[in-house]
């Protein structure tokens, strides 16, 4: 349990800084330590809830989460997760690894093209986004000023979040990378708000996924408990220091992690039976 605890602390920290749920890092590490993959995925789902809730508590208190956008987007991501989990029961695991790599690649490509942009430029809201009141403001410590922002493309973002939920349900992850991409590329959300809102939404997606593993008897307390404790501690520390980093640094860190995951998933896809 001690090894699992320490690994989980590190993963929780990274998850909070990047907006990733952490399970996509934690699951392969546990498998490497000899934990059966299904048990690792099941416990990973609970760890995602802990990461999400732990860091989301800090972000919400610091007004970095756009809760209205989160609630609207949760409709789509939860439905997607339920359908995705159902699809996984009939699809070959090898195909899942390649799908994983492809969807991460789209995130990597989309964000790497926008590395020079710290904050979204003046956004003209469409009518539906305006009706949903998708806007906000926050104080950015790194920039030393209050940032006002508006979001747009709410309909398209809903579709994007459905796909994110589908991927999360299919792959047993939070799909934080894809969610952050949808927030930034479609909704035009500032990256700090995007990471915080992604963390908020991931908990809900993970709960829907965890319910499936719970009913299947794949969730073991001896594994899930140290993971939950570890990622919570890591996420708490990560959440407290997020606002002290410039947006660009967070995005670079995010890209490095996404790139590593792409390589890892392609490797698993090629080597799995």
């Amino acid at each position: 349990m001690m090894v699992v605890l320490i690994i989980s602390i590190v993963v929780g920290f990274l998850g909070a800084l990047t907006g990733l749920g952490g399970a996509s890092i934690l699951i392969p590490i546990l498998v490497w330590f000899g934990v059966p993959v299904k048990y690792a995925i099941a416990a990973g789902m609970v760890a995602i809830i802990a990461t999400s809730s732990g860091s989301a508590a800090s972000y919400v208190r610091e007004h970095l989460t756009n809760v209205k956008a989160a609630f609207y987007l949760e409709i789509f991501t939860v439905i997607g997760a339920i359908i995705g989990a159902t699809v996984t029961t009939v699809i070959a695991p090898r195909l899942l690894y390649f799908l994983f790599a492809v969807f991460l690649l789209t995130s990597f490509y989309g964000l790497s093209g926008r590395l020079r942009e710290e904050f979204p430029e003046a956004v003209v809201q469409d009518r539906f986004s305006k009706w949903l009141e998708l806007d906000g403001r926050y104080y950015d410590q790194a920039a030393g000023k209050e940032i006002e922002y508006k979001m747009t493309n709410a309909t398209l973002a809903g579709v994007g979040m459905f796909i994110a939920g589908l991927a999360a349900g299919m792959l047993g992850i939070g799909a934080g990378a894809f969610k952050v991409s949808v927030h930034e590329l479609l909704l035009k959300m500032p990256s700090k708000i995007s990471s915080a809102t992604s963390n908020f939404i991931i908990g809900m997606t993970a709960l829907a996924g965890a319910s499936v593993y719970f009913a299947s008897g794949l969730l073991f307390v001896g594994l899930a408990a140290p993971m939950a404790v570890g990622v919570t501690i890591g996420a708490y520390v990560g959440g407290r220091i997020l606002n002290r980093f410039p947006n660009l640094m967070i995005r670079y860190l995010f890209l490095v992690i996404v790139f590593t995951l792409i390589i890892q998933m392609l490797y698993k896809g090629v080597t799995s039976q």
């Binding site: 934990v35 307390v221 408990a225 404790v229």
Partner: protein
């Protein structure tokens, strides 16, 4: 100026998440220590008795609390309680949001959050 009602909701959600996470972490830590003293080690085992299982999450939480009310404070029950509390935390924040938007008569977000709650409840009951 930020929307005042939204700030209140953010504070409520923050407290729910903090309470859920802190309480579950404390309970889990107590459970792990208790497990060490009762089992003599903290090795991870995959025996069936360590699997979380129930008809659905709500029934599992109910039966875990019933065990505590009956005075069954085993390390397994403590660990189960911690995980159940963690899993129910995001659910409670949606319930609180529905209640809050209803109270401040924000019909738009009342129905949006209610829809999220309905989908999530259906998923938790049917699995």
């Amino acid at each position: 100026m930020r929307e005042p009602s939204l700030e209140k909701l953010e504070t409520i959600i923050s407290y729910i998440l903090i309470f859920g996470v802190v309480a579950s972490v404390i309970i889990e830590t107590v459970g792990i220590i208790s497990h060490y003293y009762s089992e003599g080690n903290i090795n991870i085992t995959f025996e069936p008795r360590f699997a979380l299982k129930g008809a659905n999450l709500f029934i599992f939480i109910g039966s875990t609390f019933q065990d505590f009310l009956r005075g069954s404070f085993t390390s397994l029950n403590i660990l189960n309680l911690g995980l159940a509390l963690l899993m129910i935390t995001p659910y409670i924040r949606v319930v609180a949001s529905v209640g809050y938007f209803g109270m401040v008569r924000n019909i738009k977000y009342f129905f949006i959050t209610l829809l999220v709650l309905a989908i999530l409840t259906a998923s938790l009951i049917t699995h």
